[in-house]
């Protein structure tokens, strides 16, 4: 099987995630789409790692996972505090820096 198929799949998933970020207005779903994009990048990294025959791609994917975990923790905390302040998780309502 040709290695490009994995890259096609990764770019397709990345595109779907990017479109989701633009289309959806629920902050949680937007966040999930960002996660989808990160995962698609990881798939490309792993495929490249096998393509080149060394483990550096997997290391980068591993670091991406760590950063994604940190990002999710902070992002969800922001969503929760935003929801507490204005009782809505829609990104349209978050148009001011303060209440």
């Amino acid at each position: 099987m040709n290695p490009v198929y994995y890259l096609y799949l990764a770019s397709l998933l990345f595109t779907i995630g990017a479109a989701g970020v633009l289309i959806r207005r629920n902050a949680i779903v937007v966040f999930m789409c960002v996660e989808l994009m990160l995962n698609a990048c990881n798939l490309a990294f792993v495929a490249f790692s096998r393509l080149h025959g060394n483990l550096d791609g997997q290391i980068i994917a591993f670091f991406t996972m760590v950063v994604a975990a940190a990002e999710v923790v902070v992002g969800l905390a922001i969503i929760v505090s935003m929801f507490r302040a204005r009782h809505s998780a829609s990104v349209d309502d978050a148009s001011l820096m303060k209440l």
């Binding site: 890259l7 096609y8 595109t15 990017a18 790692s49 060394n54 670091f63 940190a70 902070v74 969800l76």
Partner: protein
């Protein structure tokens, strides 16, 4: 996808390269089946209206990606993907979805005119650019991880992490601690005023003149006795006080008032007809007069309701 390929540039070199490393037919079958499912899961993540459904679809896609990692020789990452992403991150998402709750449902009303179509167009254009770019690259063969994974995949990763990437690894440690502290700072709320005592609360309630005794129980005088069924007032209308506000917000309340009234009417009619039959043998006129009076009463009830 095949028309996007640059066909037969230097087929001899490609043939020579492809003999170096072969992937099995099983992997191709797995790729095409699971790849389709992964794309469907991703599309459902974007298109599902409820955030919980989106989260579950995304979890499915992530598990399939873990299988792909395993198939690509990234055994450590495949397991980490399942443990960290589907185990921890998606559960955190579900937790926040539950916390944010009912009112988080996406409204379908567009705030910017044509935003959805423009966004979809941007997505399609971006995808075409990306896929066309990949199609232009000549990637034809794998080098394979046989040599790199010779001593085991986790061992190979560890050897790289603790030598070449040790500084980045330590930075990620600092990042994780910062994230944990940040999450605590963002969600922690200091109480600025004293909590009200029970006496103050009751005094407030009396001054406001709202419902003073405890709220009535649900399901009373209804056909079922359950929390999702509003209790019926004597005139047959459901009472708002008897059901939980959250259930009402979700639209999970079953209204049995019409059924209850219809049942009652049927019961009345049955008993009347039985009584009427027993009586009717004697005086037919009397019964008819009774029926007329009852019908009139029924109409009046309908009007008042």
């Amino acid at each position: 996808m095949s028309p996007l390929h640059p066909g037969g540039l230097d087929s001899a070199a490609a043939l020579a390269a492809s003999t170096a490393y072969h992937t099995s037919t099983g992997e191709a079958v797995q790729f095409w089946i699971l790849g389709v499912v992964a794309v469907i899961g991703a599309l459902c993540t974007v298109l599902m209206r409820k955030a919980v459904h989106s989260a579950l679809c995304l979890a499915g896609t992530m598990i399939i990606l873990a299988v792909f990692y395993l198939a690509n020789g990234a055994y450590f990452l495949g397991i980490v993907q399942i443990v960290v992403y589907t185990g921890a991150i998606m559960m955190l998402f579900l937790f926040v979805v539950m916390l944010v709750g009912v009112t988080a449902a996406d409204s379908l009303k567009e705030t910017i005119a044509g935003q959805r179509w423009l966004a979809a167009l941007c997505g399609v254009g971006f995808g075409i650019l990306l896929i066309a770019g990949i199609a232009n690259a000549s990637l034809r063969s794998w080098n394979g991880l046989g040599r790199a994974n010779a001593a085991g995949n986790p061992q190979g990763l560890a050897a790289l992490i603790f030598t070449k990437y040790v500084f980045a690894f330590e930075l990620t440690g600092a990042l994780l601690i910062t994230a944990a502290v940040g999450a605590m700072v963002l969600t922690h709320r200091e109480r600025t005023e004293r909590a009200k005592s029970q006496r103050e609360q009751s005094e407030e309630r009396i001054r406001a003149g709202r419902q003073l005794p405890p709220l009535p129980a649900p399901g009373v005088y209804a056909r079922h006795n359950a929390v999702d069924i509003a209790g019926l007032l004597p005139d047959g209308t459901p009472s708002d006080l008897t059901v939980n506000k959250t259930l009402k917000g979700r639209g999970q309340i079953r209204d049995v008032s019409q059924e209850a009234i219809a049942d009652l009417r049927a019961l009345e009619q049955r008993s009347e007809s039985r009584l009427g039959r027993e009586r009717g043998e004697g005086t037919g006129k009397e019964r008819r007069a009774d029926d007329d009076a009852r019908e009139e009463r029924g109409k009046e009830e309908g009007v008042t309701r």
